[in-house]
């Protein structure tokens, strides 16, 4: 049974009717093929209407869909081999931040990403994808190792934010993220960053400085979540739809603002409707970009990377 979002209701209902019609045809032996064809056409039209005109808030909902593929799903599907690596070598292993060497054909790549859990237990284990400072330091350790062995880096961003906890502050959440921003901007190996779900603020950016930055079609990336923005500006969580519109946080918005390099398309209705297609699309982007990035000298890549981020912003 697939989980439906509020705005998907008409699609789900029509799907149910279609199933019933098909069932009636099969059991009654009456020819209903014309009616079925008509309804199938109607369903397709409805799907295109619903999913083709998604509001910004609806895309936020899709980015958080509980059946959406998470970082490790991508890594396992894309790689021929993957060896996960743990720990920041200082204090702990942060389960909200995963990483390791993966192989695609002849190419060894360091994969890093925030990881969410799918059931109550694993959600807690993964801290809902909210990393602590040790997560960002683990990510940096792995990135520096990739640099040492001259292997490119791919980061998969999916977080509702860096964890706002007591210990996180004691251990320097701000410093950990800041350090990554600086270090990533001068990494000698190619870096590709892909927002696969939620790209919330500094917690997302902490693994987000790359030669190429992409967003999947139904993801969001901004300075604050629509809910928090709503609670600050309108003093209530009820204006999240309005806040999502105001923040201009979709993939298309970020492309228009020249903050990302491209959008990776998702199947109609979201990545979870056909994960294999999304894995394939992401793998293709990685392979194509790595080829182009590896053709350049390291200092040329770094200069271009710094220039790209330095040009972001609008002043009068």
């Amino acid at each position: 049974m697939e989980l439906e979002l509020d705005f998907e209701k008409p699609v789900v209902e029509l799907k149910k009717k279609l199933e019933e019609l098909k069932h009636t045809e099969a059991t009654s032996k009456v020819d209903l093929s014309a009616a079925i064809r008509e309804m199938e056409a109607k369903l397709l039209e409805l799907q295109q209407q619903v999913y083709g005109n998604l509001t910004r808030w609806q895309r936020v909902q899709l980015s958080r869909h509980p059946e959406r593929p998470y970082a490790l799903d991508f890594i396992q599907a894309i790689c021929d081999d993957f060896i996960e690596l743990f720990g920041d070598r200082t204090i702990a292993d942060d389960k909200a931040m995963v990483g390791g060497f993966g192989r695609i054909g002849n190419e060894t790549i360091m994969f890093i990403g925030q990881q969410k859990g799918r059931d109550t237990k694993s959600r807690k284990l993964r801290n809902f994808g909210m990393a602590n400072p040790e997560g960002y330091r683990k990510a940096l350790r792995l990135m520096k190792m990739a640099e040492k062995f001259n292997k490119p880096i791919v980061t998969l961003i999916d977080t509702p934010g860096a964890f706002p906890g007591l210990e996180a502050e004691e251990r320097g959440q701000g410093e950990a993220i800041a350090r990554n921003l600086l270090e990533m901007s001068v990494l000698k190996v190619p870096v590709i960053c892909i927002v696969i779900g939620e790209g919330a603020s500094g917690g997302a950016l902490g693994i987000g400085i790359g030669d190429k930055v992409y967003m999947l079609e139904n993801t969001w990336y901004s300075v604050i979540s629509p809910e928090s923005c709503s609670s600050i500006l309108w003093r209530s969580w009820d204006h999240k739809e309005k806040a999502a519109e105001a923040l201009k946080l979709t993939a298309q918005d970020n492309l228009d603002l020249k903050l990302i390099d491209g959008i990776i398309e998702e199947p109609l209705g979201g990545a979870h409707k056909d994960p294999e297609a999304v894995f394939k699309a992401v793998k293709q982007v990685i392979q194509k970009d790595l080829k182009a990035l590896k053709a350049k000298e390291a200092d040329v890549r770094i200069e271009k990377r710094i220039k790209k981020f330095s040009s972001m912003g609008v002043v009068a």
């Binding site: 906890g165 007591l166 921003l181 500094g202 604050i224 912003g313 002043v315 009068a316």
Partner: protein, 282 residues
């Protein structure tokens, strides 16, 4: 080119003349509640003579405290905010900017300047909290980036004085990317071995803490300054418990290893100048 010539070409502000408070005006210390005249407080770097409370002040006061004879050249003084998202909450963003400009006489939440500190060149970027909570949007990011370029070009040390609630919501992801922009520029400054001093003042939180504020060669803070990534209210809501006394204060950060030292504002200039002299390359 001599330094004095550059000053003449630039915009020279004499903060002393502009900001002098009338003698009779009394100010109450928010910490010990003792009264003092505004003039006396101004003469003591806006620090309470009774309890050493550091009053919250802005760029004009810090420039006055730091720069020799109040002489400095302001950089990129005319940069103002655009409205890239056409953002409207209870007020349209351009109206909010306009109102803040009128209220504060500032163009945005940061000013950058070059001057001398005990005879030594220093580029200073200093925030103004009374301009939309010292929030960082494109203007702040761009001004810091250009100040770093200036430091690189003239091989002068850089100081950023932070006082900010974090990234500015009304510019969405553009504000977020100012964290990336400033940090990337600081990487270049670091590679050029030019010293960067980060002074965190009350309060320094959010995206400012999670980027340039924590990236100083020297991370310093004023006494009792609130410094953190998440705000205390958010943390309290997350953990559902009261926060320990002194949590996220400058002294707490020293104890946890994130600051080089705490500096009393009255000693700031001399301590900074001493450090700059120590770091001088032959």
């Amino acid at each position: 080119m001599s330094w004095f010539k550059r000053v003449k070409e630039g915009i020279v502000t004499r903060t002393e003349e502009k900001k002098e408070a009338p003698d009779g005006l009394f100010v109450k210390c928010p910490s010990c509640k003792k009264m003092a005249t505004a003039k006396v407080i101004h003469e003591h770097q806006h620090v309470c003579l009774n309890c050493a409370h550091h009053f919250q002040v802005g760029s004009a006061e810090y420039f006055h405290i730091l720069f020799d004879e109040d002489q400095f050249t302001e950089l990129d003084a005319n940069l103002v905010s655009g409205d890239p998202l056409q953002f409207t909450d209870t007020k349209a963003y351009p109206d909010r900017i306009k109102a803040s400009i009128e209220k504060t006489g500032l163009k945005d939440a940061i000013r950058t300047a070059h001057g001398k500190v005990e005879g030594q060149d220093l580029v200073v970027a200093c925030m103004d909290f009374n301009f939309i909570g010292g929030s960082m949007g494109s203007v702040m990011g761009e001004k810091i980036a250009r100040a770093i370029d200036y430091s690189l070009e003239h091989k002068m040390p850089l100081m950023i004085i932070s006082k900010s609630g974090g990234a500015r919501m009304m510019e969405g992801a553009l504000s977020l990317m100012q964290m990336a922009k400033t940090s990337a520029k600081l990487a270049l400054l670091s590679q050029a071995r030019i010293p960067y001093f980060s002074l965190m003042t009350d309060p320094t939180t959010g995206g400012v803490t999670a980027s340039f504020a924590m990236l100083g060669d020297f991370n310093m803070a004023e006494p009792n300054a609130l410094i953190g990534f998440a705000g205390p209210r958010v943390i309290k809501e997350t953990i559902g418990k009261d926060l320990p006394k002194g949590f996220q204060r400058a002294e707490f950060l020293v104890d946890h290893g994130f600051l080089d030292f705490i500096v009393d504002r009255r000693e700031l200039k001399h301590k900074l100048a001493t450090l700059i002299r120590m770091l001088k390359q032959d």
